[in-house]
């Protein structure tokens, strides 16, 4: 019963850490996907003249930052949308007019270009006649990345508190186990057992509890992550296709199990000291 209690606590601790780590992993992945398609899209007025369009394109091509530009007409934009989101075709049919403006898609030479670096060019183009708006996806990358950092920080903060809690709980559980066997320990001491001889079984017990707790938490996390698309899939709609729920990496999983073992080891080590005198 006591052992079950400590395994549960360690398991909950690492489950919390694991949930936040998985969240951070997913956000990082999203940010990476966005940054792989680093681009700025300049939306044009529907009445933009050929000259205005040419001027914008020339201005963009003159910039040393730009790799290439592609003009996407309003019709091409609709086709693209239909192709990407076939299930939303009905909406387009219903509105009857084309809601998409023509645009110029610009890809940059540097993959990791920041908003600050590109801001001069973007502002210049934005102020040109015929340009209505600009969408630069680096802003999204930055936002998602900061969410990812926040998720990690919250995970480690909560995890830190819970790690401390589980350390004390393991320590006390082992203390109770040691106390229940204090006569045996005393006899061992009197017949000439070394402290190490007495300690090893308790330390192994602590490590085992910690490792089992860590493994169970990974298993629960696995179930949790696999159940999200099943239960939330239909509600997420389009997002479900964009977000691919990811499990913890191999090294993160190993770290969680190892930390469980370390907590168990330290917990039992501290609880044994006072029984090993005289």
């Amino acid at each position: 019963m006591r052992n079950f209690f400590s395994i549960t606590i360690i398991c909950l601790t690492f489950l919390t850490v694991g949930v936040f780590l998985a969240l951070a992993n997913n956000l990082e992945h999203v940010a990476e996907q966005i940054s792989n398609n680093m681009a700025a899209v300049f939306f044009l007025d529907k009445d933009t003249s050929e000259e205005q369009l040419k001027a914008v394109e020339e201005e963009l091509e003159r910039s040393p930052l730009v790799l290439e530009t592609t003009f996407v007409s309003a019709e091409q934009a609709v086709d693209k949308f239909r192709e990407k989101f076939p299930e939303l075709q009905a909406i387009i049919e219903n509105i009857k007019i084309n809601p998409f403006p023509p645009s110029i898609e610009t890809t940059f030479k540097e993959k990791s270009i920041t908003f600050r670096e590109a801001s001069g060019l973007i502002t210049r183009i934005k102020n040109m006649p015929g340009v209505e708006d600009v969408q630069f996806n680096q802003e999204w990358v930055d936002r998602v990345n900061s969410f990812s950092r926040l998720a990690k920080a919250v995970g480690f903060f909560l995890g830190g508190i819970l790690v401390l809690a589980s350390f004390f709980i393991i320590s006390n559980v082992i203390k109770l186990n040691v106390f229940a066997r204090k006569d045996e320990i005393e006899i061992l001491r009197l017949v000439g057992a070394t402290n190490t001889f007495i300690r090893v079984p308790f330390l192994l017990e602590g490590i085992t509890l910690g490792v089992i707790g860590g493994l169970v938490s990974l298993f629960l996390l696995f179930l949790l992550i696999n159940s999200i698309p099943i239960y939330l899939g239909s509600r997420l709609g389009v997002l479900n296709e964009l977000i691919n729920f990811r499990y913890l990496s191999f090294s993160q999983s190993i770290t969680i199990v190892a930390e469980g073992g370390i907590i168990g080891f330290l917990g039992s080590l501290t609880s044994l000291t006072r029984f090993l005198k005289t």
């Binding site: 006569d183 045996e184 005393e186 006899i187 061992l188 001491r189 009197l190 017949v191 000439g192 057992a193 070394t194 402290n195 001889f197 090993l276 005198k277 005289t278």
Partner: protein, 221 residues
Amino acid sequence: MIELYHIWKQYQKAQWALSDITFRVDKGDFCFITGPSGSGKTTLLKILYRQIFPTEGQIVIDNRNILKISDQKIYQLRRHMGIVFQDFRLVFHKKVFENVAIVLQVLGVPRKEIRRRVFNSLRMVNLHNKMWEYPAHLSYGEQQRVAIARAVVNSPKIILADEPTGNLDTELAFEIMSLFKDINKKGATVLICTHDRELIRNFGQKILFLYKGKLLRKETL
């Protein structure tokens, strides 16, 4: 072998459990410590296997001041001792065999050898047929014999026994004493606390009389 110099022990203020005890037990001695209940016999033995420290005085065992041994190294002293405790100190969730085997396990003796020596030791106290029973299923006298088997299984240099025949009938008590005597003949120094005069009369060689914590007299027969 065992030398005590001016040993004083105080548990509570103004009450001396032991007062100025000085004596010497030579190698191969068979020695009795006797005296009425509360005379300090158990305290003296506890000091000898260093479960407690004396308030004052020094103890030398095998040319080593045992009060200077650190807690971490105290096992080195105890591995040369076989101790029979007044309350037996058996592990009740372990079988008789395991209780006796503990002593050899801590020394890292191979499993086969453990089996052989534990069996021989239990046969000496006539308990080999109850080897796989739990101590709780044994009588008081049988539990005491398990404690004795455990104390001698390692053929220690020193045997300290606190009332080892206290719950045994006279016949068995004599058998156990003969057993101690045999071990003594093989070279072990034996120190037994008892108030059984019959035993002392029959087996006594060196006798120390304690009364209210004081060593009244020493006799060598």
